[in-house]
Amino acid sequence: MDIRNELNGQLRIVIVGHVDHGKSTLIGRLLNDTGSLPDGKVEQVHEMSRKRGMPFEWAFVMDALQAERDQGITIDTTQIHFKTEQRPYVIIDAPGHTEFLKNMVTGASQADAALLVIDAAEGALEQSRRHAFLLHLLGVRQVAVAVNKMDRVEFDQYRFEAVSHEIRAYLAELGLHTSTVIPIAARHGDNIVTRSGKAPWYDGPTVVEALDAFRPQQAPTDLPLRFPLQDVYKPDDRRILAGRIESGRLRVGDTLRFSPTGATATVVSIEGWNHSQPIVAAQAGQSIGITLDKRIFAERGHIAHHEEGAPHVTHRLGVRAFWLTSEPLTVGKTYTLKITTGEHRVTVESITAVIDIEDLSSTPAKAVHRNEVAEVVLRSRSPIAVDLASALSRTGRGVLIDGHDVVGGCIVVEVDEGPAASANTTEVSHTVTADERNAANGHKGGVLWLTGLSGAGKSTLAMALERALFDRGWQVFVLDGDNVRNGLNAGLGFSAEDRAENIRRVAETAKLFADAGVLVIASLISPLQADRARARAIGGERFHEVYVAADLATCESRDPKGLYRRARAGEIPEFTGVSAPYEAPESPELTIDTGKVTPVEALGELLDYVDGAFGRNALKRGRV
């Protein structure tokens, strides 16, 4: 091997597949048969095998950890260099056990191409399929398949073709291109480096030939420019925006736009250190620093691009996610989504489907468990600059972080352009407009005023609604009549005047919450028409009155707090319905008769109404 070959671009290959299908053995054999093992390694492995009373174990070449050798399993991914006549390689060994999937993902994500190893006798088992699926998600598009342990099936051509057919069909369904399926016996070196005489019916490439046929991944220089900022440095009087170009090219003199802020500026220089000549252009893959003609607000996470071919800016994305941790991903939970260097708090709005690895069928679900793959809709408070993974993979994928840990990964499959932020005519004093808040939350702020007799079911319904909306990622809060009397309105009694003041204060508080973008559920008896009218005046068009109707007899029979009994006994003066009037609303936005429908039906009706009045569709309507 001469030095020239050494300078050829190296290729990174990940070896994946079900546990015990022989990945590590294949690698050991590959290294040995290409003369890539350092002197003394084979003797070392002999000694390790002997000590454990095992026949020679090729896997020990890769399994560097004592625990791996003792248990005979690969725990973590590792990398090792080797050479063929063609070029240098990095072999990435990925563990096959389900519980080490995060390690498999870690290894496979760094590969240009993959070799999927399948046991001839067992066929494509669960992890074979899961690994294939993840390769697809991780962006590894070139895959060759080695059907291993052919010696155990006497190099039977029909068995090979059955396994080959099955895996080809599966990979094709994933959109992975498989050029090659190779019958091998890794332990004995058949069809690894040299052609085996035991499978005369096979005339395809050996493993090494298949590897040499892979193409190195090219930096995406011909795609639109994406330059996400990593940091801003001020080493002297320069202000250098530093980062790596993920795709496209950039030249001095280019006008750049920064998303999501929309700021624009012109590139004055591309800064370097220890460069003899000024740098005038840079391209995908390069870590660079630039200076601009204007001092714009730009920071880590912002993405620079050209005017043409800009990324999407959105609050809501559909992603295909894989989940790596024991605590499931659930609707309503909030995570940090990190795409290149940008971090965003996102809430899971819905789980559209969990994908069955076995047959690729989809089922809707409430949670995504460890090692599952699912279609998920995420909503962000802050606008996210993002691409579809199919168009620009590097800015169209990200990780989900919970607390200190990366818990999953995802690729962007759908972007909701949604209502863009715009000036609002009624909220002049805030620089953050109501529209922006609505867009960020994915729903309108407002006041849902539940009125009705004590015992009609207002509190129960309010709390159930709060829970349901919260789980869907809404900003929602219940102002309960009884609860506010302990704090905000602690000084007020039950005189007509105090009752009116009680309602006025709750209405004002609810309005503030609504201004902040929250859907407030106010749950108060509020028996008087006049008081409610005043609350409506305060809340304006965002005030929606819900009459929780139930006749007195029903309420009295429920009597959850024992108040009717005490009122009848004369212990509570001026108790609504008993010794004080309740004026039913004349034209409420919604009436729910809890005496006639079940609590579940009542909640359903309420949810439908809230969706229509404050949900996404209401947002869209509000804009046209």
């Binding site: 671009g9 560097a64 990398q79 260099h81 995060k102 990593q230 080493p235 980062g243 893959g285």
Partner: protein, 265 residues
């Protein structure tokens, strides 16, 4: 011709900048060997001429004289914020370790002292995957427990250049910006960039140091390579592992793993 070196350089600069942005208190471990010299060089590239964090040498007073001379010269020329941390004596080490491994463990303890007194949250180390099999299992951002241990059986997911940068109070992270480089890459890059090199790497009287360590546990190997070009030519054909002259690596099957699990670089 050197597009692959450009890629390696760019990836390392990306990692260095991530570390500098995400980790509050950083230090770089400088062994003064060929790898950490490249690492320092890359820092100067990443941060436009300066190394914006302390550079620490874990000193056992057992390095060769040429190493100390080189350290003092470069620290001055490159305007480094050099801190020398004296390592505790061998008598204080875990006596169940084999003797040579015990000598190497002094650096682990020196590092623990440094972490305690300096309250560093991130330590940058110039290790590479191709040096040693347990290093091949490393993450770029490798979290350590409160005691400084490396939990090799439960490492974080690390993909698409998203690194673990959030940690519990009191723990720290090792950052490995050269993990993806090979020994050959280091030499080719040193040559291209003209990076200064400790003369011990070049052959004298038929021997040279291929890997530099303390003089009591590191030995020169047979070689006639007197220039970088000759070293590169030697490495292309050799089948002798890089750390063959590092006596502590192979003292027992798992001696290096034990060293690393308890915090060695």
């Amino acid at each position: 011709m050197t597009a692959d070196l450009d890629y390696l350089e760019s990836q390392s600069i990306y990692i260095l900048r991530e570390a500098y942005n995400r980790i509050d208190k950083l230090a770089l471990l400088w062994s003064i060997g060929k790898d950490s010299n490249v690492l320092l060089w890359l820092c100067r590239k990443a941060f436009f001429g300066r190394v914006p964090f302390p550079v620490v040498q874990l000193d056992t007073a057992m390095e060769l004289q040429e190493v100390y001379d080189f350290r003092d010269r470069i620290a001055g020329e490159w305007d480094l914020d050099l801190r020398v941390e004296q390592c505790p004596p061998e008598a204080d080490m875990d006596q169940t370790l084999p003797p040579l491994t015990r000598a190497a463990a002094r650096k682990t303890e020196g590092l623990k002292n440094l972490l305690r007194t300096g309250k560093y949250q991130g330590i940058m180390v110039g290790i590479r995957r191709d040096e040693q099999a347990t290093r091949a299992k490393e993450r770029v951002f490798s979290p350590r427990s409160l005691e400084g241990d490396w939990d090799v059986k439960d490492q974080p997911a690390e993909f698409w250049d998203h690194y673990k940068t959030r940690f519990e109070e009191g723990t720290h992270v090792r950052i490995h910006p050269l993990l993806h480089w090979t020994e050959l890459d280091i030499w080719r890059y040193s040559k291209r960039e003209g990076i200064p090199i400790v003369p011990l790497y070049f052959a004298k009287d038929g021997k040279r140091y291929r890997s530099l360590g303390e003089k009591n546990i590191t030995f020169p190997v047979d070689s006639t390579a007197g220039t970088i070009d000759e070293i590169i030519a030697e490495l292309v054909v050799t089948r002798i592992p890089e750390r063959a002259g590092r006596a502590m690596d192979n003292e027992a099957e798992d001696s290096f793993e034990r060293l690393r699990s308890s915090g060695y670089m």
